[in-house]
């Protein structure tokens, strides 16, 4: 076959599975323009505004005691909410994927509830549940337990909002993998715990990691529900997102963007870690999928 003929054939093949150059160009332009406008530009604006008045102003804004307190609270909330949802999410996914029981689809719907309900409503649910006018309220007050307008309320609201991330990531994965590896393990004499830690968990570790990262990103960024239950007490119950809003409303735009850049960086680090891990273990991930 001559070289020209080979090229012609190659072009033919390419056309069979794709579109012409014009269509490709248009599609690519639309996609890139959309990405640029909706994702890259806002992120750039955050950093440009944050560093716009020099590094000095930037670090001054971050070093404010209220900001440091908000950062600490955000990290604390994430540090409680993510492990809690790790346990709940894995347990729920395991139950749903590996067992058959009545009310399974109801449980699945329930897991999606936090996604379906507006975060503000989620926050209000807890106000109604723990507030002074609720049935629980007087009892909590008598026993000197503060949930609303305190750290426990923020943690509970965050756990509620971020519950679906890990479970939702694991359920399809576990369902697709079936139970035969677990059955093999128990037939070989392994206990339930051993089977879970040596067979089930390693099989879903990448999905689990992804779920944890998403859960963490949302736990640190949650605004609506936390805003309702926190009470906005500066330096005490303000998380980073709430603190940004307060700064912005006080016309401290530079400080607001500085703190926003901090939050954005936490998100970027999360995504970077995920990408790095995926690149590092690409072979292993592919091997597991192929099997």
């Amino acid at each position: 076959m001559s070289e020209a003929a080979a090229t012609r054939q190659q072009r033919k093949v390419r056309q069979a599975i794709g579109e012409g150059p014009a269509t490709r160009f248009v599609l690519l332009t639309i996609a890139l323009a959309f990405l640029g406008l909706m994702l890259v530009a806002p992120l750039l604006v955050v950093f440009v505004e944050a560093f716009g008045r020099g590094l000095g102003v930037y670090f001054q804004a971050l070093a404010l005691p209220d900001t440091m307190a908000a950062l600490q609270l955000t990290l604390l909330v994430a540090a409680i909410a993510v492990p809690a949802n790790l346990v709940f999410g894995v347990a729920a996914a395991w139950l749903i994927a590996k067992f058959d029981f009545k009310g399974k689809s109801f449980l699945l719907t329930l897991i999606d509830l936090p996604f379906a309900v507006s975060p503000v409503v989620s926050g209000l649910i807890f106000v109604l549940l723990f507030g002074a006018n609720s049935t629980l309220g007087p009892w909590l007050e008598d026993n000197n337990i503060k949930i609303l307008y305190a750290v426990p309320g923020i943690v509970i609201a965050t756990i509620f909002i971020t519950f679906p991330f890990i479970a939702r990531e694991l359920i399809p994965l576990m369902e697709q993998q079936g139970s035969s590896e677990e059955e093999a393990a128990v037939s070989l004499g392994a206990s339930g715990w051993r089977t879970f830690f040596q067979v089930t968990l390693p099989n879903v570790k990448w999905g689990l990691l992804y779920g944890v990262l998403l859960c963490n990103a949302r736990a640190m960024g949650e605004f609506g529900a936390v805003s309702v239950v926190s009470g906005h007490i500066r330096g005490v119950t303000n998380t980073l997102p709430l603190h940004i809003e307060i700064l912005y409303n006080d016309n401290k735009a530079a400080a607001a963007f500085a703190v926003a850049s901090l939050l954005a960086m936490l998100a970027l680090v999360t995504l970077a870690v995920k990408t790095l891990l995926e690149a590092r273990f690409a072979g292993e991930i592919a091997a597991q999928r192929r099997h």
């Binding site: 035969s180 128990v186 037939s187 070989l188 206990s191 051993r194 099997h291």
Partner: protein, 373 residues
């Protein structure tokens, strides 16, 4: 180890997967559970393993009642159709899993290593101990799965469609190889298959199942030569079915007498089941049944001929020597020299409509249909 399943019943949402099934496997025996999808064969195997719990009935290993015994304590080696190897472990760790999982009498790591290498040698995979399952072919994976099951020195070896996911050539090799391993290790072995050729070639005894019941349990020769029911006849090998009349101890087709032993069937309508080799072409002008050739196809050294016979134009398939030219629409005379007659009411007795086209392909569609019913 003798395996006994006694009066096992199991229902799934109202459908009987196992209907009062009893089965005994003698020590060292290699038994095949054969049947179409939905016949209950896998459920029976999983019940013996302890992966399913029967609604009623008991499983015994020798005289030990296993009703309250967890699967971990049964000491069964179970091999799955899709291998179920631990994907994230190397071959050696897969095989060592059962030994390391022991809570008591756990062997030393050096002893485990020795056992693993020994087993790898047995399944002819020496040198591959550091591979991951994804780096092995299907046949190699199934051999690792078998080595893993053998590592715990199981009292019983149970295999669920062990060659079902492999291509035809590998399947044949592994079949022979499994027989050799069995002869060498002597484990009481029970395997499930829907492939009658596999069951007949490999097993000491074949247990044919259908709709949650055992139809026949016998040696491969008996299963093929004297099928107990029409179902077994049509499930094993090729078969044609034609309706006949039984009267005065003889079977007749369109009032032509057939030279067949019909046992003590009552008078009335019955069905004649024929294998291709039960019918021969009459070439010397002798007596026989006239028919019209519908189609011919070449199978190995023979020519498979389908003809329509009798007033109701029943189709019969038989083999003719390839060197004799036979054309469509040609008139032929055949003679029935074998086959079995089953009276109405026998398990698997077919309605006339089904019988008219009981070719092997159709048989499969039919088998699948039973599952849906």
């Amino acid at each position: 180890m003798q395996v006994r399943a006694v009066n096992i019943s199991k229902r799934y949402v109202g459908i009987a997967a196992l209907d009062d099934v009893s089965l005994t496997v003698r020590p060292g025996e290699l038994v095949a559970l054969l049947g179409p999808s939905g016949s209950g064969k896998t459920t029976l195997l999983r019940t013996i393993a302890g992966l399913e719990h029967p609604d009623s009935g008991t499983v015994y290993f020798n005289d030990r009642d296993l009703s309250d015994s967890r699967i971990q304590d049964r000491g069964v080696g179970f091999v799955f159709q899709h291998y179920a190897l631990f994907k994230h472990m190397r071959v050696m760790d897969n095989i060592a899993f059962g030994l390391r999982a022991r809570s008591k009498d756990k062997p030393k790591e050096s002893e485990i290593k020795r056992r693993v290498l020994e087993l790898l040698d047995l399944v002819q995979l020496s040198g591959l101990e550091r591979r991951f399952p994804a780096q092995l072919s299907g046949g190699q994976r199934q051999r690792v799965a078998l080595a893993r099951a053998l590592a715990i020195e199981p009292s019983v070896l149970l295999l669920d469609e062990p060659f079902g996911a492999l291509d035809a050539r590998v399947r044949k090799d592994l079949r022979r190889w499994l027989r050799e391993i069995h002869d060498r290790t002597g484990h009481t072995t029970l395997f499930v298959t829907h492939d009658q050729e596999e069951a007949l070639e490999l097993a000491d005894r074949v247990v044919v199942m259908n709709k949650g019941k055992i139809e026949q349990s016998a040696t491969p020769d008996e299963i093929y030569d004297t099928p107990a029911t029409p179902f077994v006849f049509s499930f094993i090998g090729e078969s044609s079915v034609i309706p006949v009349q039984v009267g005065n101890g003889r079977a007749t087709l369109d009032e032509r007498l057939l030279d067949l032993d019909i046992g003590n069937l009552p008078d009335g309508p019955a069905q004649l089941y024929l294998r291709p080799e039960d019918v021969v072409m009459v070439t010397d002008g002798g007596p026989g049944i006239p028919g019209l050739v519908v189609s011919t196809r070449r199978i190995g050294g023979m020519r498979r001929v389908t003809i329509e016979c009798g007033l109701a134009r029943h189709r019969i398939e038989f083999d003719a020597p390839a060197e004799i030219p036979i054309n469509n629409s040609q008139r032929l005379t055949i003679r029935v020299i074998g086959g079995r007659v089953y009276g109405a009411g026998a398990e698997g007795y077919e309605t006339e409509k089904l019988a008219a086209s009981a070719t092997s392909d159709f048989k499969w569609a039919k088998a699948e249909g039973w599952l849906d019913r």
